[in-house]
């Protein structure tokens, strides 16, 4: 299994809603990432988890709350988002056992629209 699975594929939410994005991989990767991608822009790093611990937070607003409950799962909890948070949210994973594992495996993303 060489897939990163993200659910849901599409999400529409109001500014007062609470929702969660889910990411799952079963490749034994110990680093997992959240990226945000606006239309016609490159992915921007949000968070990195390494061995289930948050290792990088790129000064992301607190309305985005990541969680890594185990080595296969990564969640992104959303609360009180703004319309400008509408974007494609990409999850990725990567092994940390050596140079040959530096490839990022990406999920197909969750397209989020905030109304």
């Amino acid at each position: 299994d060489t897939e990163v699975t993200q659910t849901p594929k599409h999400l529409v939410m109001g500014m007062t809603n609470k929702k969660s994005l889910k990411c799952e991989q079963h490749m034994g990767h110990r680093a997992m990432y959240w990226y945000k991608q606006k239309a016609k822009k490159p992915p921007e790093l949000m968070f990195v988890y390494s061995y289930e611990k948050l290792s990088i937070n790129e000064s992301v607003p607190s309305r985005f709350s990541p969680e890594c409950p185990n080595s296969s799962l990564l969640n992104l909890h959303l609360h009180a988002l703004q319309p400008e948070d509408s974007a494609l949210y990409l999850c990725a994973s990567r092994g940390v056992s050596g140079a040959t594992n530096e490839k990022l495996f990406f999920g197909s993303g969750t397209q989020l629209s905030v109304l």
Partner: protein
């Protein structure tokens, strides 16, 4: 700080023509270098990567890239493009560490002329 620059925002080539997409990086040591491709509304797929060794790297779908340390470049090439190659292409640079950042360039959109 590491950075990566893709100077071409949009390139159009004819089907069957050759392709070169430019990428320049800034990093204090030899970085990991990648090329990813993204179709609309999809995640990114790795085309090829460079870590060390042979500076000419072969990837999937007939793509290759050449690492030139003297020019801090990692340009992507394909001898003959197909209509299915139309997509967004991202060059990326990563650092050697267990929880490394992998930073993406701004991307080059490739259009194919029939």
């Amino acid at each position: 700080a590491q950075s990566v620059t893709q100077p071409d925002i949009h390139i159009t080539v004819s089907e069957g023509a050759s392709l070169e997409l430019r990428c320049n990086y800034s990093y204090g040591a030899t970085p990991y270098l990648f090329w990813y491709v993204q179709s609309p509304g999809q995640g990114l797929q790795l085309l090829l990567k460079y870590f060390s060794g042979d500076t000419l790297v072969q990837g999937i779908k007939g793509f290759e890239a050449e690492f030139k340390r003297s020019q801090s470049s990692f340009n992507l090439r394909k001898p003959s493009v197909h209509w299915s190659d139309a997509a967004e292409y991202f060059c990326a640079v990563g650092m050697y560490s267990s929880a490394s950042k992998i930073i993406f360039g701004s991307g080059t959109r490739l259009s194919i002329r029939p």
